[in-house]
């Protein structure tokens, strides 16, 4: 460490919550409820608790709520719904577990002050669709973040964690994590008995549709850097379902969500020439039924098939689709609802309308499928492989405390826990609570006497690794050629380093063109996937030569390192599933059919941190609900 001389801060805690978004807030809240004075809860967030995460700008609906007190739905109903959404591949124990607890979370949110729309006649919440309730949700995250801040013993904000630390005495046991303060450059070492990963999903692994100033306008948040997946993978934890990337149909360019439009306002959409698309017409349903059997018969039609409908029309020159907003926005109330939906959660869509003079009560808006994202909380099940709840999980799914990964002491919640999607904001907070209680129980009982062993050599080594991009930049910046147009680091050319922007662009080009991005209509095949692995290997090697001019760039460098790790795992997972299971999300052009006889299994991976080898595991799908 010559040019940069960061100070080191070592923090000892019992439960380390990595990420202070929806699930991290839930984990912090519940862990502290059970810990009281007996265990310490520390939360580390790379932005702030008040606005960190996918809910940064707010939401307009809570997408998971049973309404058991109003006799609306059972957790069993919910499992059946999610089973169809994921074409049969889900961990029913995990999904059921979230469903049976989620209502208490939503009721708590309401008491804390989140404005939930109530149906005056029934006293129950006003439904958007069967599972969703409407909210005035601009301040959703500040409310939830306030609760987390009140609960935590210690909060570290603007600290980005980069690596987990494994114990040096006990094999396959997490002992803490390291990272750095993105504002002051402090090197942080956290030692803990339990670590809960709640860092959200991953965007920007794939080339987004806007690649200029609008690069950050991805539908899922640009700060979703896949950190939790990558850190867990690097520590040797097993993944699941990463081949199921999420592609969603959204308002074109602004990426405004469609849920309220279909469910609440009851708008329909058509193809570019006005032919009916959503709800899907009978002939299309018949065709999907012949291809995907019982899954296509489900009501509502699975998300992946509704995405497929747009992709097929894109190929035929009949897309973008059109959301026929003008047919339904006939009252001021409906206009308000339409605008609020976006102002509460995707303001850019209103910017698109305002700049392009689109008055939604007068003309339709275009719809497009997004670039793929990696997420475990939404309409896709990508994530890590977690142990299930003691009272309902089959033995095959139970090797440790609830939500513990295959690395001892390491827990997950929200987007990070795989094979259990459709939890959304409320389910993510709920799963955080489940993991929080489970971790509290763990540190107060079986891990009570555990003490992390991390040598000072290890700490120094990680410090070098974490700050190396800045060292490397300092050592080589003298020979940089700047662009004449603008002194801007994106276009620095240096023989010895590439910067985060150049690293990102390479990653996105590989993933888009070889691993089923939007430019190939989400299709790939074995030769393309193998070629991607070769190119990703070069990228991994070149990471040694990535430079960062300042702490902000260092943040970006590590975010894209994490994305690169996730990208490789995604590529290997797609390669391992030799069928097309989720046709709107990933199309294996060499295996275009769904094959339930052979492939009704989970595709899991494990990276061995000692050898650097990847292994594939096919795990059984066990249904516990009829």
């Amino acid at each position: 460490m010559s040019a940069i001389n960061p100070r080191t801060k070592i923090v000892d805690t019992d439960i380390l919550v990595v990420g202070g978004g929806m699930s991290g807030s839930g984990a912090t809240w519940e862990a502290k409820f059970w810990c009281r004075g007996k265990c310490k809860v520390t939360v580390v967030e790379k932005s702030t608790l008040e606005r960190g995460g996918a809910v940064a700008m707010g939401l307009s609906a809570i997408n998971m709520y049973m309404g058991m007190r109003c006799r609306e739905n059972t957790p069993e109903d919910f499992v059946r719904y999610v089973r169809n959404e994921f074409f049969g591949i889900l961990r029913e124990d995990l999904v059921y577990d979230i469903a049976r607890h989620v209502d208490s979370t939503v009721h708590l949110f309401e008491r804390w002050g989140l404005p939930i729309w109530v149906d005056e006649k029934t006293g129950c919440y006003q439904r958007e669709g069967r599972w969703q309730v409407m909210i005035h949700g601009e301040s959703y995250k500040p409310i939830v973040g306030e609760a987390a801040r009140k609960a935590a013993d210690e909060v570290y904000e603007r600290v980005m964690l980069t690596h987990l630390l494994l114990d040096e005495r006990v094999p396959n046991r997490v002992a803490g994590a390291v990272g750095f303060g993105v504002r002051d450059g402090t090197f942080y070492v956290f030692r803990a008995k339990a670590v809960i990963l709640t860092t959200g999903g991953a965007t920007l692994i794939y080339r987004p549709r806007a690649t200029g100033e609008g690069l950050g306008r991805v539908w899922y948040a640009p700060w979703a850097s896949g950190s939790g997946y990558a850190m867990a993978i690097m520590a040797g934890a097993e993944t699941t379902s990463l081949e199921s990337r999420l592609v969603v149909v959204r308002f074109k360019d602004g990426y405004g969500p469609v849920g309220a439009w279909y469910l609440l306002i009851k708008t329909r959409s058509t193809d570019l020439y006005g032919e009916q698309r959503e709800p899907l017409p009978q002939d299309m349903m018949e065709r999907y039924k012949s291809l995907y059997g019982k899954y296509a018969e489900a009501k509502p039609t699975p998300t992946t098939l509704r995405v497929l409908a747009v992709i097929e029309d894109l190929m035929k020159g009949r897309a973008p689709h059109l959301m026929q907003t003008q047919e339904r926005l006939t009252t001021q109330e409906a206009i308000n609802e339409g605008f609020e939906d976006f102002l509460d959660m995707t303001i850019s869509q209103v910017n698109v309308w305002a700049g392009q003079n689109i008055h939604p009560q007068q003309r339709p808006s275009e719809l497009m499928p997004t670039e793929p994202y990696i997420m475990g909380s939404h309409a896709s099940p990508a994530g890590m492989w977690a142990s299930g709840p003691a009272d309902i999980a089959p033995p095959e799914y139970r090797w440790g405390p609830n939500r513990m990964l295959t690395v001892e002491g390491l827990f997950c919640a929200g987007d990070i826990c795989g094979a259990s999607g459709h939890k959304f904001s409320s389910g993510s907070f709920t799963e955080g609570r489940i993991a929080g209680k489970s971790a509290a129980r763990y540190v107060l009982t079986q891990a009570r006497d555990y003490r992390p062993t991390i040598s000072s050599d290890t700490i120094e080594r990680y410090k070098e690794v974490v700050f190396r991009p800045m060292e490397w930049y300092e050592a080589n910046k003298g020979v940089t050629t700047h662009s004449a147009a603008r002194v801007d680091p994106w276009f620095d050319i240096n023989p010895n380093y590439i910067n985060w922007f150049q690293f990102m662009t390479r990653l996105q080009k590989i993933m888009d063109e070889y691993v089923a991005g939007w430019s190939t209509y989400y299709q790939t095949n074995e030769p393309l996937l193998n070629r991607a692995l070769e190119l990703l290997q070069f990228l991994r090697e070149d990471f040694r030569f990535v430079g960062a001019a300042n702490l902000h760039e260092l943040l970006r460098v590590w975010e894209f390192y994490h994305r690169m790790v996730v990208a490789e795992a995604v590529t290997r997972s797609i390669l391992a599933r030799k069928e097309t299971r989720f046709p709107g999300y990933t199309i294996r052009a060499d295996y275009p059919a769904l094959d339930d006889e052979k492939w009704h299994v989970f595709v899991n991976l494990r990276y061995d941190p000692r050898t650097g080898n990847w292994d594939v595991y096919y795990r059984p799908v066990i249904h516990i609900i009829d």
Binding site: M57, H107, E213, G216, P222, H359
Partner: protein, 143 residues
């Protein structure tokens, strides 16, 4: 991408415009109301504006939307039903001893059904739902 409105010179900088999500938090939180968004040059023609005013005393957010063609829309939506900083920490909830159970804080009363469902038991528990949701303590501190 944001900038300081109404000025001929720039006093602040945006660290990383291409990573901007247009989440508007810098706009909502700037105490001087000195930040405005000029939307993505890639696909948004110039001339439109979206301006929020977030009032945390009355707990309302006001929006003014100006179209390129001059049309103006104004909206106001509630943001919170309780005062800021009123949430009671979990350590002020009564302590429980069932660390080994599957129940989370406040359950089962906070669910509105008599006990936590296990597979197969959901339907019969719904039959016993009371609509009543109770917490062991008010989750909000009243002043």
């Amino acid at each position: 991408m944001q900038f300081v409105p109404g000025l001929k010179y720039r006093r602040s900088y945006n660290a990383d415009p291409i990573s901007c999500w247009e989440c508007y938090n810098c706009v909502k939180y700037c105490p001087e109301h000195a930040v405005e968004v000029r939307s993505y040059a890639d696909f948004v023609p110039l001339g439109g504006r979206v301006i929020p005013l977030r009032d945390t005393k009355n707990n309302v957010i006001y929006w003014r939307v100006e179209y390129r063609d001059g049309t103006i829309y104004e909206f106001a939506f509630p943001i919170r039903t309780t005062p800021w900083d009123s949430i009671r920490p979990p350590t002020e909830w009564p302590e429980r001893t069932d660390l080994d159970s599957e129940y989370l804080s406040g359950e089962p009363d906070a669910l509105g059904i008599p006990e936590l469902p296990v597979p197969g038991k959901g339907p019969e528990l719904l039959e016993k739902a009371t609509r009543d949701v109770k917490f062991p303590v008010d989750p909000i501190k009243r002043r």
